[in-house]
Symmetry: C2
Subunit: 337 residues, 2 copies
């Protein structure tokens, strides 16, 4: 039954050329009419994926259409890792956590000889890549919790504006997918409110989402630690991040997070992996016109090629706590059936 | 220390005439200039409370002001019960839960002779008013959980468009405070995004918030049960409400909820009770211009008069699970100090 649901839900498939940071001339002929106007998706190859998006926007925003969606109900959700920016070879936020370990150990020297912190400090990439899920969780909680929300924000801001991707030697925030930026902008231009719905931490993504994706903090839904309101030594109110997971915004957690944080079912959703399956199903199961799309990564030259789909290998994204639970079989394979 | 924080945080005090559903002529002379223009707050008496709001809007929206707030950071939060609509003699959502008991017992006849359901069925108001906190929690979880989000939405919608307040014989959604509607509209006109941040259930309030307050579901933050994503017998995705509290959006839970759901500190916050203390403190503690205000209920003729503040009695709002934890001492008293 679930398999059928997947194939029904994911009838559209984004065979998208993932152009990173490419600047493409913004004008081309619109072949749907005789009037020449700007192509809203200039980085997209012509084909069923692009057409599905354009058709979706047309029928949901034309008041004469039986599939018209009132502006206030126009919600579109986007996974982040692998959908909006590069997730290989390691999730960016996991790199952040690993990079934070030296500072953490400087604050808490007792961790220096304790696993898994000593493995991370060793810099032995092979050993780091073999860290187990509980070990990685220990690192994530230790580096993401125990400080105030303001301190965390400042730390991430500093890191994200300096750390660079090992392959491209560019800031992670430059490794976003131009075609997806265009889809988000196109939807916003047509009255859609765009949200990020990520398995990553929402406090992390909120630091740069407005600048990078044009998505404000209040439209970022993500995994979240619990927090504790209190007062600092000067009596000033603080919000402290606790080492407990309040919202695991993956798999079933995505529609649950959408219900909690948005309270409306999206009309369009975009993802790229098993962690997005339920969000795409949930979106597609709503009344009226709905769009659920998957990004396929098939460009090994300019990005990474992985599936499993269309014969591409099921490469691992690691080290990540999601790897073993979220990406077991890859989702793209079933969607292309 | 806490007491100091309160008095510092709540230096402004809304001595507001709580006019319910009053229609007041929309035009009056603006005494701040020689130009006659519409008064944005026609239902407010002239005085420091009204002036504080007008001054706040002026300095935060004037680009030449050192206190200018960029549009994307203009967040204003409002408690609901006692701040936007009547909370006496019983919180509206508690009335909903009590009203739901007969239908619940019809579905589950085994509850008929079980406390506290049999007390509610008896209709004995005196006995109902004496229900203990654990008994009330049992009723709330039983009537708010165990159904899908769609079913819950439909139930609340039916109830809220028919149930009437015992004193006024009017729909609860008509018992909103005209001055507060004006403040929300005034802030929105000036680029503020208005949010409800309520101890009430966010799924409940989201049903009517857009129509009644002009606040869309995604801008309602409230107490929330956990949910579970699954599939119905036809394989259709469902979100089911679970009998466990995920977010208790009262007291410290309010700034925690704001951090979780909005991710920005408000520049203005409005409340009326102890449950709002931390939200108002948190708001006021931010950099730049911040506005924290309390609604004072001092009009026994047209609404209810209660405090404790200005010699008004600390009347109970019951029966409610919040009564014993949230309203122990009343907040208004300390704010007027």
């Amino acid at each position: 039954m679930k398999r059928n649901l997947i194939t029904n839900a994911l009838s559209l498939f984004a065979a998208m050329a993932a152009l990173m940071c490419a600047v493409i001339p913004a004008l081309s002929a619109d072949n749907k009419s005789n009037v020449t106007r700007p192509d809203p998706l200039p980085s997209w190859n012509d084909g069923p994926a692009k057409q599905a998006i354009v058709d979706f926007v047309r029928v949901t925003t034309d008041q004469a259409s039986p599939k018209f969606v009132p502006p206030e109900e126009r919600i579109a959700t986007f996974d982040q890792d692998g959908t909006q920016w590069v997730e290989h070879p390691i999730y960016t936020q996991v790199v952040y956590c690993l990079d934070r370990v030296p500072a953490l150990v400087a604050e808490k020297p007792e961790l220096k000889d304790v696993e898994p912190f000593n493995t991370v400090l060793s810099g032995d990439h092979e050993a780091i890549d073999k860290l187990t899920l509980p070990e990685l969780e220990k690192i994530l909680f230790a580096t993401l919790a125990g400080m105030t929300a303001d301190e965390f924000h400042a730390e991430v801001k500093k890191w994200i504006t300096t750390a660079k991707h090992p392959r491209y030697d560019r800031l992670y925030t430059e490794l976003v997918y131009q075609p997806m930026l265009e889809v988000m902008q196109y939807l916003r231009t047509n009255g859609y409110k765009t949200y990020i719905v990520t398995g990553g931490g929402q406090d992390f993504v909120r630091v740069y989402a407005e600048k990078v994706y044009g998505i404000p903090p209040e439209q970022v839904v993500g995994s979240a630690l619990g927090t504790k309101y209190g007062y600092d030594k000067d009596g000033k109110p603080t919000i402290t991040k606790e080492p407990e997971l309040l919202l695991n915004d993956n798999d079933a957690g995505k529609p649950e997070g959408i219900h909690l944080m948005i309270g409306r079912r999206p009309h369009a959703a975009f993802g790229n992996s098993t962690g997005d399956q339920q969000m795409l199903e949930y979106t597609k199961a709503g009344d009226g016109e709905r769009l659920s799309m998957l990004v396929l990564h098939d460009d090994a030259g300019r990005e990474y090629a992985y599936g499993p789909a269309q014969g591409l290998p099921d490469t691992k994204v690691g080290p990540s706590p999601r790897r073993s639970t979220m990406r077991q079989k890859g989702m793209a394979g079933s969607s292309s059936a």
